[in-house]
């Protein structure tokens, strides 16, 4: 007689649900910063976690995720055909990202402003 009292699928489903909740709550900016400091010295464009599962690592039960990171290494060439130094290029890239992020916040705030105006009267 089998000693199975609960289906393995049920256990797997609980673990996968737990991993999903934990993954949704991860502070992605902080994780990205930590990874950048620890392993990488390049700009990461896209960053995501998937396939959360429960595994044993270093004698403890842990959550394991696959971290997907698109690395983009900007290369800047000036009009004379020379590569701009990596320090200058880094500053330019940071400036561009800050601009784009600022635009995104502005678009979202504009949408909020319109919604706020139309909500008056309720």
């Amino acid at each position: 007689m089998s000693s199975e009292v609960i289906s393995p699928e049920a256990i797997k489903s609980v673990f996968s649900e737990m991993a999903e909740h934990a993954g949704a709550g991860v502070d992605m900016d902080k994780l990205k910063e930590l990874l950048l400091n620890e392993h990488l010295r390049q700009h990461i464009d896209k960053f995501d976690l998937s396939n959360g599962k429960v595994v044993v690592k270093n004698n403890q039960v842990v959550l394991k995720f696959d971290c997907h990171a698109n690395l983009t290494i900007p290369v800047y060439l000036d009009q004379t055909g020379h590569i701009i130094s990596s320090e200058t290029a880094q500053e330019t890239a940071e400036g561009r990202n800050a601009d784009e992020s600022g635009h995104m916040h502005q678009h979202i705030d504009d949408a909020g402003k319109h919604a706020e105006q139309e909500s008056r009267g309720f």
């Binding site: 649900e17 991860v26 976690l49 705030d109 949408a111 319109h114 139309e118 309720f122």
Partner: protein
């Protein structure tokens, strides 16, 4: 006396049906008598609520039966929850007849129906289509309040203004008593870059109009329609189910504060 809450947004795919079904289920599981009215031609709400009947579609009680008082008008369809009943959307030929009624007649039929149903149910939740069909506007005109789901992404946030504009015109023209039940952020995914920005802008701009509860992106919420059950039945302990329970509590508390 019951309350009639319409779930509406001009934008499709923002979580209207998911919200209507699971909010109705949350009220029903906390002991309230609930009627879910499927006012969307897609007919998804009745399916997702776990419609339980052996009757063929054409024999089931539809919105039109209740509006016009046919002999099927009191035979609400059972669901997988004993306190939750549904009425389905009628077929196209019946809707074509309904659309030929004058606006005044339609509004009178809807407000009479709402008054009768509010004597039988604690909550009547109406799931609407994003399109401005006459039946959608008539339902809004007979509702006590409207709940607006807002998917946590840029285009949905941008489309909130036209939704509020339309609701304001319904309030001004047909239903001065229409209140904003609240704006509900749905499909919130903390991994997205725009999420924090939208959460912050929504809290600043929409203030008390925004529910404190928000609905996360959840695999159980995506899976439950496939099993033809509300998430509160399919995965009652999941995060999504708990959030809809919290939403029901927030709505009850909000209505008590406003009394």
């Amino acid at each position: 006396m019951g309350k009639m809450i319409s779930v509406f947004s001009c934008k499709g795919g923002v979580g209207k049906t998911t919200t209507a079904v699971n909010l109705a289920a949350a009220f029903a599981t906390s002991g309230h008598k609930v009627l879910l009215i499927d006012c969307d031609p897609q007919g998804s709400a009745a399916i997702c609520a776990g419609r339980f009947t052996s009757l063929p579609n054409q024999s089931q009680c539809t919105v039109f039966d209740v509006l016009t008082g046919t002999d099927k008008a009191d035979t609400f369809t059972d669901t997988c929850l004993s306190l939750l009943k549904v009425i389905t959307f009628p077929d196209e030929s019946v809707i074509a007849r309904y659309n030929k009624f004058s606006k005044n007649r339609r509004l009178t039929l809807f407000s009479n129906m709402a008054a009768k149903l509010k004597l039988k149910f604690d909550y009547i939740i109406v799931d609407n289509s994003p399109a401005n069909y006459p039946i959608t506007l008539d339902g809004l005109s007979a509702s006590d309040s409207v709940l607006v789901p807002l998917q946590c992404e840029y285009l949905a946030f941008k489309n909130l203004a036209p939704t509020m504009k339309l609701l304001k015109s319904v309030k001004q023209d047909n239903n001065p008593k229409l209140k904003l039940c609240g704006i509900l952020l749905t499909m919130v995914d903390r991994r997205s870059l725009v999420t924090d920005s939208i959460l912050s802008a929504a809290r600043t701009r929409l203030k008390s109009g925004l529910f404190k509860t928000f609905i996360p992106q959840s695999p159980q919420l995506q899976d439950s329609p496939g099993f033809r059950k509300p998430v509160l039945v399919y995965a009652p302990n999941s995060h999504g189910a708990q959030c809809y329970k919290a939403l029901a509590v927030e709505i009850i508390e909000k209505s008590q504060t406003h009394k």
